[in-house]
């Protein structure tokens, strides 16, 4: 197998003298009105070829220093290293764009120009760049640099620096102090004014880059939390699987298999790209046909399908970041898997950092696909938990006109709660007897537990040691706890009752017996401990989605009599 192609490459022109049969020694220009070719009449019946000649000329008139033909318009080289390279720590830039003058060179990356700039690759790959004014901030996995754009820094004799316009498009790289990078989580990046926030998973940190340099904001009360949670996020792909029941097709001579639509694992959808376990290739097309779903595959099945078919796809953990313009919070959401897999609370944690108080305010029960702020408003993209097709939807947060939507995210209402600690005189054992709060109706106490008392062998015989502490029966809200006494007909409160604009309740012990304990549980009043951890939450009854305020919570206690 072969073919021949002719090359249009010519670097000279023929100049001939021809003598023909009929015109030997007379005019013998080729006998046809066409450039440079003789016709039949020019063929010599006698051999005149000795008198014919040609030369190769390439200059106008053959004159000295006259214009000569060239070899070609453009040149190529045989490169020393022609192989593809992954320039993980390099930048490359285009030509300029100027709509006013109509110049658009954004596609110009001329091979003839030096348009790349490289940072030390020892700090890992570049994961994010952010242009700020005329500087470019370059986030590598393990270091952050600032590059000057269209200017450069020169070092003066006074040991200072001076910035000046320079020929270099990307100027000198200036590192920020501190060994932080963005790891491989550019999705955590968020910006507000001159502050940039991002996660550095490799260092268990959430970091702020501001005028004062790099600050590890995860250390503001949440160092331990982020250490655990960031480290727990998987670094590679996680294979997700689900199943469906085979109906027809799936032979090794076909690329089509039909499954029963209703048999697909709840919450899952079959979409192109997924694999069928045990098969090479991937799904190229999916069509619902009556009660069944037809699945087209990219190649013939390597083994016959039947029974239960398992589908798989890969996901990655993410650390999503976004700026909440409404509350001026940096919101970060740690997600082991995307919404496509699950929206369950255990699959993510979303929380916000407030610059004003330099602390982390609250967790949120929404699992955003993306978050961003746009002209006064904070938006996120998410998925309704009830969605059967796992579609994607845009939501606006803090949409106040919407009635009673507090705590309602992606169509699902979740309670608000706060967990805090009563720890007066922490070195004194106390009995906590009551609880009260100042605020709105609708709060309930979910838990009120003491600190752990100590470790004892498990009384149930399981060969482990268990910790014991006191806790209480939950305290319902003012409304939820109300009931009508069947005997008196009066409305009574089993939970919080309101007195002088305070909601009060006593604590009913619900502790299990510890080793050697005689009085426990409801036999006791209140709970005992050095401190108590309380979780107060909005209830499921009182003005659902309405505003609930909690100013303060209090508890009466007495020193324990041992």
């Amino acid at each position: 197998m072969s073919t021949v192609i002719e090359i249009d490459f010519f670097n000279t022109f023929l100049l001939k003298k021809i003598r023909s049969a009929n015109f030997d020694e007379v005019s013998a220009f080729p006998g046809v009105a066409y450039p440079g070719v003789l016709d039949v009449t020019g063929i010599a019946s006698t051999d005149y070829s000795e008198k014919n000649y040609y030369i190769e000329e390439s200059r106008i008139r053959g004159g000295y220093n006259n214009v000569s033909t060239d070899q070609g318009a453009r040149a190529y080289l045989d490169e020393e290293n022609p192989l593809q390279q992954n320039r993980i720590s390099s930048l490359i830039y285009s030509g300029v764009y100027n709509s006013r003058t109509g110049v658009n060179q954004t596609n110009v990356f001329s091979v003839g120009d030096a348009i790349t700039k490289t940072i030390d690759p020892v700090f890992g790959s570049i994961q994010k760049t952010y242009a700020e004014e005329t500087n470019l901030i370059v986030f590598q996995e393990n270091r952050i640099h600032r590059a000057l754009i269209d200017k450069d820094t020169i070092y003066t004799t006074e040991s200072g620096t001076q910035t000046q316009a320079g020929a270099a498009v990307v100027g000198q790289f200036v590192p920020y102090k501190g060994e932080y990078g963005i790891s491989k989580n550019p999705e955590s990046f968020a910006i507000y004014n001159y502050r940039k926030y991002f996660a550095d998973k490799n260092r268990n940190s959430i970091v702020r880059l501001s005028n004062d340099g790099l600050t590890e904001i995860s250390m503001y009360g949440m160092r331990d939390y982020f250490r655990d949670e960031l480290a727990a996020l998987s670094s590679g792909n996680t294979s997700q699987t689900f199943t469906a029941t085979y109906v027809s097709g799936g032979a090794t001579t076909t690329t089509l298999v039909t499954i029963l639509t209703s048999s697909i694992t709840s919450g899952q959808n079959i979409t192109p790209g997924m694999k069928i376990d045990g098969q090479d290739g991937y799904i190229t097309y999916v069509a619902v046909n009556g009660l069944n779903t037809e699945i087209y595959y990219s190649q013939l099945f390597t083994s016959t399908l039947s029974g239960t078919i398992t589908f798989s796809y890969n996901t990655k953990s993410k650390v999503k970041g976004g700026w909440d313009i409404h509350n001026k919070n940096y919101v970060v959401s740690l997600q082991e898997s995307p919404n496509q897999v699950t929206t369950e609370a255990s699959s993510f944690s979303t929380l916000g950092f407030d610059e004003e108080i330099n602390g982390w305010v609250s967790f949120f029960t929404y699992k955003p696909n993306e978050m961003f702020s746009l002209i006064n408003k904070f938006y996120s993209v998410g998925k309704q938990a009830s969605s059967t097709v796992n579609s994607t939807e845009l939501y606006e947060h803090y949409a106040e006109p919407a009635a009673n939507n507090r705590g309602v995210f992606y169509g699902t209402r979740e309670p608000s709660n706060v967990t805090f600690v009563f720890n007066p005189q922490p070195d004194v054992m106390k009995n906590f007897n009551t609880i009260s709060y100042e605020g709105s109706n609708g709060w309930e106490v979910v838990s009120y537990v003491s600190g752990f008392t100590g470790q004892d062998p498990n009384p149930d015989g399981t060969p482990t040691y268990v910790q014991s502490n006191d806790d209480i029966l939950s305290i319902k809200s003012y409304d939820e706890g109300s009931y009508v006494d069947a005997n008196t007909g009066y409305t009574l409160r089993a939970g919080f009752d309101r007195k002088e604009n305070r909601y009060v309740a006593n604590l009913r012990n619900n502790s299990t017996a510890m080793a050697g304990e005689i009085l426990f549980g409801a036999q006791m009043s209140g709970i005992k401990g050095y401190f108590a951890t309380v979780k107060i939450e909005t209830d499921d009854t009182t003005q659902l989605g309405g505003p609930k305020e909690l100013w303060a919570a209090a508890s009466n206690f007495v020193t324990s009599s041992y």
Binding site: M1, V40, Y53, I60, G62, Y76, N358, T365, T392, A402
Partner: protein
């Protein structure tokens, strides 16, 4: 009782401190609360947080598993843009499975200022060509004014114009339209054209008839097998009878044939007549009208035709004197050519000139502009957002010498011989070839386009076509014309060729020098990050280029240009009729591969082989080849040799994969193919189509419309049968679309580049070369003499680097001369010298009297037989001929023109130059696959075995 009271005014969680140490105001955990912020004047109080409300799902709520994988905002207009897909690439590297037919990929917009839902929530772009995947979330999205750029580290960087996308959600439908790297026009313009004659039949010996010869012109070449080893041209045309005369008797005779007739589009348009092509001895003429001239029979079979011009230099002084009623021995002209200003006498040579088929009396251009230029043409596209494509390859020089490069022979043997000085004499006297100028004045630049010309705007988003021009001695590339796609020449052109009629107008704009260096754009293959700063796009963590093949299996040959009739020809015999590959040079041929967007490999050379390869009786060398001067053994006679060309024999296909390194992109696959169903399919799973694209594969999807989708489960390339997953019914001649995997960045086109290191050279046109001395031939194997004057003094320079004050004889600067033409022995004419690599040198240069060769007479006047104009004591050169007899002896009847080629310097820059040859790899591979095998040539004497 004591009371402990906690507020939440510190508004912060603390999961670090021990419970005993946690201060009041802090709390261990909170969900859905806000404290430091409040919807009212309640900062400091803990309150439940406002939820969120549904805005839109872009009516895509039926698209399962759809996920936003990237976004950007435009605060200026309160808009946000999103990339969404339901596709997850499960290949091992998460790149190898491009989004299949069923994948959903979108670019969405949320416009908070718009009122109507249709404007607030828009799908801007959709289609699998976006090739988005959840494995590659997009973190680099930027808006520059109305241009939205993004990179996902999966595809090449992309861009859309949001204004255009908002106006129409179908504005962007292909990768070509959204890539930052723009479509690369890989084909050079070409400089030939053809017309097609229908129903061509034999009428007479040389005469053919056709249905319509309206567009036929004399000089056009018929695409027919050569006769007598020569091509066939149109000599005469009878437009009334729809008949034409060919230059040769066609063999076999044609009957009802369809014949393509080719012609160059580089034309001279201002000369009404061509250079005389025939001559005859004048006998007599009638002195009253009709003026019948009688002459000796000029030719045996064909002769003078009507509308030719008759002339006799110096004797016929009429501007135009056309003839009629030709016979082999007589013509009628409109004037008496022997009286008045005309003085033709018996035995004068009268000449006959064909009318110029391209003559345009009202041609508006500059007839002299190109006469001293070697110009090349190229083009580039301007896209709708203002980007310019890389410049296409250039043509070869649009240069055809005046007189088509023929030195006219002597005409002065008749009665008035002294009135005419032959051209060789003129060259001898002037040392230049006065007519070696460009006769081309008008060039119809034919620009091939990937789609119909009037579809360029819709398919590639092209706004303008720019015609470019480069002179051989200029660094700059200049713009001849910018043609808008709204121009009628484009909107009305449904062919795939745009013709630009260049009329020798000066360019109106010069491109920056960097455009010359912009051989291609190294737009990243993939990039992880993107930012915009300083009005530029900046990409980071990127893949820089494609890995080229380590080498390719090809061999090279230099041989006479491929004849027109042969398939796979470049048509260079038509487009470049006098062009040639310079002899006595070494050429290295390389191949450059390019993807559809112009990213190019470096120069790929051939694999090393032990043998030449043979195919079709021709032997081919490896990538480096020496082109020697033709030797007498080559049997190349100038009258039917029209120049050589380089040939490349591809012995195996451009590979779709390589194993020596990563990063090889494979070959381009559009992913969408069409086929015409024939015959009709009725409730069957077998579909027979007229032809099958080789990229169609099992698993590809055919969407027949109406909800009928099938996939291919078997392909029979012999019968062109596709077996699909279900029975279908399709009408005959239905065009079906087959959707398979795309590979948009695979190698798409190739081009050939050539390295030749020797620089510009000179021909020294010498008045004579005297073999031996002016009075002796005893030393004619040792030395020759020639006179140096005019240009030749510079072409064969004297070495004045180290000379004495009184020195009168000088050496040359190691200049090698290759004699090409000179007299020989005592003959009266000059001959071709083909001495191979044998050269001569000019050892001594000095005045004739100073060198004083044997036979020199001091005079006065000075005399030396065989030395040109000895009386003027000219500078002469003593030539060492190294055992060769070069030039005419002193006893020769006439001194004749001698031409020696001066060996040029050799460059040390290893540069390959772009040729005008390029093509699609897919077409090349098909041709290779269909071609015969190339076989290694057995050494002579043969080794015991030859590898297969």
């Amino acid at each position: 009782m004591a009371e402990i009271r906690n507020t939440f005014v510190k508004s912060k969680m603390n999961k670090d401190l021990d419970d005993r140490l946690l201060s009041k105001g802090e709390y261990r955990n909170a969900e859905n609360v806000q404290i430091s912020r409040s919807e009212g004047e309640d900062v400091g109080a803990l309150e439940n947080i406002l939820g969120n409300k549904f805005i839109t799902n872009w009516s895509l709520n039926t698209v399962g598993n759809l996920e936003i994988i990237g976004y950007t905002i435009e605060e200026k207009n309160d808009r946000a843009f999103f990339m969404a897909t339901n596709y997850t690439d499960v290949s091992s590297n998460e790149l190898d499975n491009p989004a299949p037919y069923g994948a959903a990929c979108y670019i969405l917009m949320f416009d908070n200022r718009a009122v109507s839902p249709g404007d607030r929530y828009k799908v801007l772009v959709e289609g699998r060509f976006l090739n988005l995947s959840k494995t590659h979330p997009i973190y680099g999205i930027d808006l520059i004014e109305e241009l939205l750029f993004w990179t996902d580290n999966r595809n090449q960087p992309r861009k859309i114009n949001i204004t255009k996308a908002i106006a129409s959600s179908t504005h962007y439908t292909t990768e070509d339209q959204i890539s930052v790297a723009k479509y690369y026009p890989y084909q050079a313009p070409y400089l030939y054209d053809y017309i097609t004659l229908e129903n061509v039949s034999h009428v007479g010996t040389f005469t053919q008839s056709a249905t319509d010869v309206t567009d036929l012109r004399i000089g056009m070449e018929l695409k027919l097998p050569y006769v007598n080893n020569l091509p066939i041209f149109v000599r005469e045309i009878d437009y009334t009878a729809n008949e034409f005369v060919t230059s040769q008797v066609l063999s076999p005779a044609l009957s009802g044939a369809t014949v393509d007739c080719y012609f160059p589009t580089s034309k001279n348009v201002t000369e009404p007549f061509l250079t005389p092509s025939l001559a005859a001895d004048f006998v007599s003429t009638t002195v009253v009208a009709p003026f019948t001239i009688t002459f000796t029979n000029p030719i045996s079979a064909l002769g003078i035709s009507a509308n030719m011009k008759v002339s006799c230099p110096g004797n016929i002084n009429e501007t135009v004197l056309t003839i009629s009623n030709p016979t082999p021995t007589t013509v009628v002209v409109d004037k008496d050519i022997t009286t008045g200003v005309n003085t033709v006498a018996a035995l004068d040579k009268i000449e006959f000139s064909d009318p110029n088929p391209n003559y345009t009396s009202s041609w508006p251009g500059d007839p002299t502009f190109l006469s001293d230029k070697f110009v090349r043409f190229a083009y580039r596209f301007r896209f709708e957002d203002g980007e310019y494509s890389v410049i296409s390859p250039f043509t070869q020089p649009a240069f055809i010498p005046k007189q088509d490069g023929y030195i006219r022979s002597e005409i002065g043997n008749g009665a008035n011989a002294t009135n005419y000085i032959s051209q060789e004499e003129q060259i001898r006297a002037s040392t230049i070839v006065s007519f070696f100028e460009n006769k081309v004045q008008s060039v119809e630049v034919k620009i091939p386009t990937p789609y119909a010309v009037n579809e360029l705007a819709s398919k590639l988003k092209i706004s303008d076509l720019e015609i470019l021009y480069k002179e051989s001695d200029g660094l700059a590339i200049q713009v001849l014309e910018t043609i808008s796609v709204t121009d009628s020449s484009i909107t009305g052109n449904s062919s795939t060729v745009y013709s630009f009629d260049y009329q020798s107008r000066r360019p109106f704009k010069t491109l920056p020098e960097r455009e010359t260096l912009r051989v291609f754009d190294k737009v990243p293959i993939r990039a992880m990050t993107q930012s915009t700063s300083g009005n530029r796009l900046i990409y980071g963590n990127f893949i820089d280029k494609h890995t080229p093949p380590e080498n390719l299996d090809y061999s090279v040959q230099i041989s006479p240009k491929i004849r027109l009739i042969t398939s796979n020809t470049s048509f260079c015999t038509v487009a470049y009729p006098t062009h040639n590959v310079k002899q006595n040079r070494t050429y290295q041929i390389g191949i450059v591969l390019a993807d559809r967007y112009g990213r190019q490999s470096d120069v790929v050379l051939s694999s090393i082989t032990d043998y030449q390869y043979e195919v079709g009786g021709e032997n081919y060398d490896s990538s480096t080849i020496f082109n020697p001067y033709k030797s007498a053994d080559d049997n190349t006679i100038p009258q039917n040799w029209f120049g050589d060309s380089l040939k490349v024999l591809f012995r195996s296909e451009i590979p779709s994969s390589v194993s020596y390194a990563d990063g090889y992109p494979g070959l381009y696959k559009s992913g969408t193919y069409t086929a015409v169903v024939t015959p009709a399919v009725t409730s069957s799973d077998n579909i027979v189509v007229s032809s099958l694209d080789p990229n169609i594969a099992v698993g590809d999807i055919i969407d027949l419309g109406g909800g009928t989708v099938v996939s291919i489960k078997a392909i029979d390339t012999v019968t062109n049968t596709i077996t699909v997953s279900s029975n279908v019914t399709i009408a005959i001649d239905t065009t079906i679309t087959i959707n398979g995997p795309e590979n948009k960045l695979g190698w798409y086109s190739y081009k050939v580049v050539v390295k030749q290191l020797k620089q510009e050279y000179y021909n020294a046109y010498l008045p004579n070369i005297l073999s031996g001395s002016p009075n002796s031939i005893s030393n004619n194997y040792d030395e020759s003499y020639t006179t140096l004057f005019s240009d030749n003094i510079n072409k064969i320079p004297t070495d004045l680097a180290e000379v004495q004050p009184e020195q009168t004889q000088f050496r040359t600067s190691d200049t090698l001369l290759y004699p090409r033409v000179a007299g020989t022995g005592t003959t009266s004419y000059n001959i071709q010298y083909n001495l191979g690599e044998h050269y001569i040198t000019a050892d001594t240069i000095g005045k004739l009297a100073d060198i004083s060769p044997s036979g020199f007479a001091v005079g006065p006047p000075y005399a030396a037989t065989g030395i040109y104009n000895p009386a003027s004591n000219p500078p002469i050169a003593r030539l060492s001929t190294y055992n060769k007899q070069i030039g005419a002896e002193y006893t020769a009847t006439y001194s004749t023109l001698a031409i020696a080629e001066v060996d040029p310097l050799e460059s040390r820059l290893q540069i390959y130059y772009e040729t005008s040859t390029s093509g699609l790899i897919s077409e090349l591979n098909i041709a290779i696959d269909a071609g015969s095998s190339a076989n290694p040539v057995a050494p002579d004497p043969p080794y015991p075995t030859v590898p297969s």
